[in-house]
Symmetry: C3
Subunit: 455 residues, 3 copies
């Protein structure tokens, strides 16, 4: 079994220490509590429940937090020999991304008086950024080492935050659940990065690029927590009251429909009518992605079902027919099929957002127009022009993701980053001490200090 | 390994598409946002926090959602070769049930002006219906195919909704946590259905009807999430304020007591004092079932402990002594032992509800009587007559469940529904592409398009 | 395989029945609903949302509940042949502890008019006590039987409650997230107990004291839920409003930093640069422990990062270098390394609390001083004297834990408690019916009543 070369084994710890040190320094200089977390600035008198958003957002935040770590982490455990890396590197990369996102989003969105002010909204937004990074991780899963992933996360957190700022703040685009900013961006960033890192000799590791019975069950832990909590994901940043409530309802129904179409299509496209666990683990979730932009809008429950059904269909067909073509024709190796779960459903979700936005009327939204489409409510834009901005936001996202992912691929080719060799991809032992399977009764030799001691 | 016959492999996808298409059409015609989810109908001005039930019910709803999908899904993974089907069919069947329950409960409970109006209460109630369907699934686990399960779910969702409507709306029965409407109904529906589908040759698959070490651990994921979130299950639909709070406290203590009696009885009834994982996985949860009706009432913390202790005892004894008799004498094959976890504890819970209702006084409930027993508070019923209605509700439930389950069994015998042969029960490979166990270093032959490509 | 001796197989069930019976009796006499759970005492009119703490504490409570059962339970599944015992005994011991803690904490904290009054705060505090007991369980994991654990839990629940009462109520010490009362107490109680139970012949079971690939993945379920929900753990009992909000933010960032330092140190201290799953499963969580006392204070986000980084470092180094010394020199066998995850980070957290308290000023806390340091706000103590009390509280905790743990060890040596023999440690089969691994196609002989029956 290949080991990490001696002279390179310091790269990961040094990167961790360097990044954590630099980030902590920036925290010391710039990051402060906001008016709801600072003991000296907060008073129940001023902040009745109605104002105190913390209590309205905290349950959703915790659901999102579960999705990022349990959901994405375990979803990627499906590979038979890459479970330690899947959950472990998720843990590592997401932890650092949460800190970076706090800084980057803070500089762009909540920088006042020389300081970034943090509260529960900062945590939600940081988790969203980590979600995008983990989507990209899915594209290169098994083919990149942890030092590469840290650099990827750093670059991606920067570009994610800039893209998000351009869309939400400069263009006034609506994208609460992140069909564009999270799913489309994360997927295409990862796919372009994977394209640059294309391995022509990956077949040397192909025997490990499949699941085992138990690893598929572990992956279903990830799937189900993602599925169950997705209503919280899409609603976490939306307007309090009807906004969050409507988003929850839409997302819930969309996911039920994508599950139905996934089972139908999975059985239809297989040779013998049997279902494929890959489809169930992934495509069933496409209903959450596809309503990311539009679930806060007046999509209608029927609209949610139709969108979810379409997304599950496209995603399942993508796994069956499109992923092999991407690899053979376009030299694009997409380990988790993020193009099918996040890429195509994300773009579909952006387009759905364009359509639903174009149909927005004062009549349908009433006073709620102010919170969903503030620029239309203020008369600064028509529904059509807002729809055009939405469409433009999607293209901006695709440009950022593709250029950024390509640059990221070049960055990750730096030789000292210790990429696994072609024959050692999808293998935990490259980076982890790995135990054997359950022993039965074989005796281990005694270690020094263990024997002959007496109480 | 048996495969799905060629001419039948279209049954599942066509049923999925047909059902989803018809349901979506009904959604388009009938389902609308309610006044708390519709942007045009909702205003913070009118709806202060106190009114906005969404924020008081959403955390409980998410816990219930986790219980339905993670809890029931993984609890059934205990079979050594049926994990894909357990979580996969849970996913499929529950998704469709959520849509149907929205329609059926909506027509019966919230149909105004030609429309069903949905919000978080709709989602909670739909999840409850899915819970009942999954309980029935537990009785026939491993012996029915997905197409059969979809038909079962359709019939059961209809009868569940009608039974629930009769109890809660026509009879004025109290059953917040569903000892009757969910557990008793789901269990006996499934048991009668399983009776009709009795397989005399099931011993051909008996070697698969047991757990493996890791499958038992996966099942414990289900158990523990059910156990931890059960207070939310029972309290999700109760009155805000003291109602939800009291329900949580009662359910919490009841579960601790059923856990204790489960361990005590499991060790007592085994031949050699060793514990049985089946008891711990299931009977420990009986404390949640048994207080389903009464946990919103003034059960007292001691009452909760006593009820839970009794339920754990009855459930464990049921697994040890009653389940084998049900099979050998009554030809009732109950894979998960739902009779022990949901059937008997559900009936006990209904009876406990009768007793606690009969003891209700204006003194004990004060102003709270209005929310727990509105008909007694209004003077339309005495506590005794309310108790009689509760008892009557239990019998109505048993009639609906037994007749419905029997009809369901006949329905599921339709030959094109592709039931697994007796020798292929409890086996994922009938319906799923199943990977092998973790490979070590065996090389797989290259597939076309994988070799000789160069970046 | 060794079995439980015949004459001892009644010990566990009789202890369960005796303890549950006595506890239920005490519940009947003493435990009543409090003013927020009693139907007759509660009115929306008097209790607007702002007052009704239930809704502000319930989501955090549920997260804590998940941590205790899913988190601690699965974290200990890492041993290859002790998964049933890890989750099973967690379930058993924690259930009884929840009841005892309700009584003990109730007598000490909320005993009015001859009764203990319970509500959601009781449940949170009981879960905290169960957390401490499970930490101690981690030290003796695999070396104690369930009857021993029940006695340990009884003694520990008493001493935990007394120690907590002395610190929080008599000394006025602040320790919301329990760096002292939960982590330091639980760890040293378990360690002293383990010292008394030292087994000189434990090498006979050493071949089972390691993980397997899948058992490590199960343990990561525990780790990730602990990590994700730790902000709720530390904030569950803090002041509403800014107190809970600030605690969440501090804990969140501290955990990201302990994760980073864990990965850095794990790679640095290994011989070949490879990561160790034990470190990731445990040391990554030290950031939650170390801010247990100070996360409700004005720690600053940078302070949280620094504290978490330090804790992850100390904890990882502890696993690598200190645990072997503890065993070889001090005859202290610490199965889960609770000294590294809870002991040292707990003491560090207490000291951090001393420092942050000493730095408290009226300026920094403003009106919030009242809720964080009420005695300073009232002018009864200076910040320095409060800091001295904090330090004193740590020493009180260490005394209670060490004396109590030692006594507990003597208690657990009672011969009828059925401790596993040295050669049968870390083995589920001593206490559980254990299935084999997944069978393939071996046929089992028919049992009576299974064959020749016809539908």
């Amino acid at each position: 079994m290949a080991r990490v070369p001696r002279h390179r084994r310091l790269v990961l710890p040094l990167l961790c220490l360097l990044f954590q040190g630099a980030t902590a320094l920036l925290f010391a200089i710039f990051v402060r509590y906001n008016h709801e977390t600072d003991a000296a600035l907060w008073h129940w008198g001023n902040h009745s429940n109605v104002d105190n958003e913390f209590y309205f957002r905290y349950p959703s935040f915790q659901d999102v937090h579960v999705m990022v770590f349990v959901g994405f982490g375990f979803l990627m455990v499906f590979l038979q020999r890459y479970g330690f890396s899947s959950v472990g590197f998720t843990f590592l990369v997401a932890s650092l991304t949460l800190q970076w996102a706090t800084l980057l989003q803070g500089f762009l969105h909540s920088f006042h008086g020389g300081h970034i002010h943090v509260g529960v909204e900062s945590l939600i937004n940081a988790d969203f950024c980590a979600g995008a990074v983990l989507i990209s991780f899915g594209a290169v899963l098994g083919k990149t080492g942890p030092a590469q992933l840290l650099l990827m996360a750093l670059l991606e957190a920067v570009l994610f935050s800039v893209n998000e700022f351009i869309l939400l703040s400069l263009l006034g685009v609506r994208d609460a659940g992140g069909s564009m900013t999270i799913h489309t961006f994360g997927a295409y960033f990862g796919l372009f990065l994977s394209r640059v890192l294309y391995r022509s000799q990956l077949e040397k590791s192909r025997h490990r690029q499949s699941s085992a019975y138990n690893s598929d069950l572990f992956a279903m832990i990830g799937t189900i927590f993602l599925w169950v909590f997705w209503p919280s994901f899409n609603s976490a940043p939306t307007a309090l009251g009807d906004g969050q409530h409507r988003t929850v309802v839409n997302t819930y129904y969309s996911l039920t429909a994508s599950t139905l179409s996934t089972f139908a299509l999975s059985a239809l496209v297989s040779g013998d009518g049997r279902l494929d666990m890959v489809h169930v683990q992934n495509a069933a979730l496409a209903g959450g992605v596809v309503v990311g932009t539009s679930s806060e809008m007046m999509l209608t429950p029927f609209g949610a079902l139709a969108a979810g059904f379409l997304a599950g269909t496209v995603s399942t067909l993508g796994y069956k027919f499109f992923t092999p073509i991407l690899e053979s024709r376009f030299k694009l190796q997409d380990t988790c099929g993020v193009h099918n779960l996040h890429g195509m459903p994300g773009v579909l979700g952006a387009i759905l957002g364009v359509v639903v936005t174009a149909l927005a009327t004062h009549e349908a939204y009433g006073d709620g127009l102010q919170s969903v489409f503030p620029l239309i409510a203020k008369g600064q834009r028509s529904a059509t022009s807002q729809a055009v901005y939405q469409l433009f936001g999607m293209f901006v996202t695709l440009v950022f993701a593709s250029v950024g992912g390509s640059l990221g691929g070049l960055l990750l080719r730096l030789p000292f980053l210790d990429s696994p060799p072609d024959s050692q991809c999808f293998e935990d032992q490259v980076y982890w001490e790995v135990p054997g399977e359950q022993e039965t009764e074989t005796q281990r030799p005694l270690r020094a200090g263990e024997s002959d001691t007496q109480a």
